[in-house]
Subunit: 212 residues, 2 copies
Amino acid sequence: MSYQNTNPIKISLVEDDNIIREGFVMLLNENQGFRVVSAYNNCEDFLRNVQTDKPNVVLMDIELPGMNGIEGIERTKKIYPHAQIIVVTVYENDDLVFKALCAGAGGYLTKNMPSQRLIEAIREIMGGGAPMSTNIARLVVASFQKNHNSPLSSRETEVLELLSRGKSYTNIAEGLFIDKETVRTHIKNIYWKLEVHSKAEAIEKAMKEKLI
Amino acid sequence: MSYQNTNPIKISLVEDDNIIREGFVMLLNENQGFRVVSAYNNCEDFLRNVQTDKPNVVLMDIELPGMNGIEGIERTKKIYPHAQIIVVTVYENDDLVFKALCAGAGGYLTKNMPSQRLIEAIREIMGGGAPMSTNIARLVVASFQKNHNSPLSSRETEVLELLSRGKSYTNIAEGLFIDKETVRTHIKNIYWKLEVHSKAEAIEKAMKEKLI
DNA sequence: GTAAATACACCCAAATTGGGTGAGATTCAG
DNA sequence: CTGAATCTCACCCAATTTGGGTGTATTTAC
């Protein structure tokens, strides 16, 4: 599949650093397959024009004057969901990564990448992928992994899992084909092991320690 | 960083197809930086030897005779957590991908990749990354994204979010600095909008439709 | 064979939940 | 500017849920 012989990929940039922004414009426009249709130093201006710019891909910074990038991603997805958004930032902070992805980012790159990586990333996201820097990919995958040293038995974990989905003791008992009293015993033991005294505390602690 | 001048990366294979397994062995051993220390056609044999094989990286198939790969990943992580596990399979099924990652896989490749991608992936995972096929990465990232056409208002979403963490009405009211009665009203409206009649149903539906 | 895990029983009181109905204040789009 | 949606609070009621206590029996794993 070659993009050279078809319509160029339309790109919008949102980046407040003039040097970097202009650098990206030049880098991308050099490439036959790409066309930078707009470049802004803030989200507000970008959002006002996104529906006329109609970009295929948006490269979005996070730290911006005025509205931040996370909010910007959310709003973009609301008014022009067709756009694929790649975050390009210096921040490798866990929290920010997940917030960006939850808000609708389709990729996440850190600025210390070689510039060629940017080109690849745009091709990747247009080809149905989700370009991420090495460390980001690891962060994302690690977020799925459970704690392999759980103090809870597998049955207890099962019970807590159902409890965390809002099920009542009765519900859980039915789901596991055991008596409600047995569920209660399990939950008492879970509370004792986790040193908590309520559903909410148990779920919070279990989430934090990746037990469920 | 060159692996050629240091200790080779030790690799174990778990793959029941003889042709593919032997193909991987040859491909990897051709490479100076790698050494295949063992290759099995089932998980059971692998698990018996992993502590003596001491692989850095394990390439694991999912569909296997006897114990399946997901179970295999879990057990491997229990008895030899040091190993980095890359799933190599034909299955691109959502459920399987997430189960594998939850179980402890650090990467996920589909078998239709060019063989060179396997080499890259092993280097990637040893370098702190999480190698994934294009479609898999998209699946994983998409799993974070919320539905941008939620029928719920932002306040209602906030309430449902707290409810899904096991909080009681009282808890939620305190957390949002509003009255318990207001929380009740929100929840009644949530139930009406989602056409459900209980906490568990609301959470289930909200999760399914990615409202929270 | 001992410890952990799993399962069940009964007591009790406080808290939670779901449903109904109504209503004032604010915000936002047409 | 107006009407719809949202956010806020109030009071009624009954059934269910929850957390804590204590005790027991069977199975499983090391």
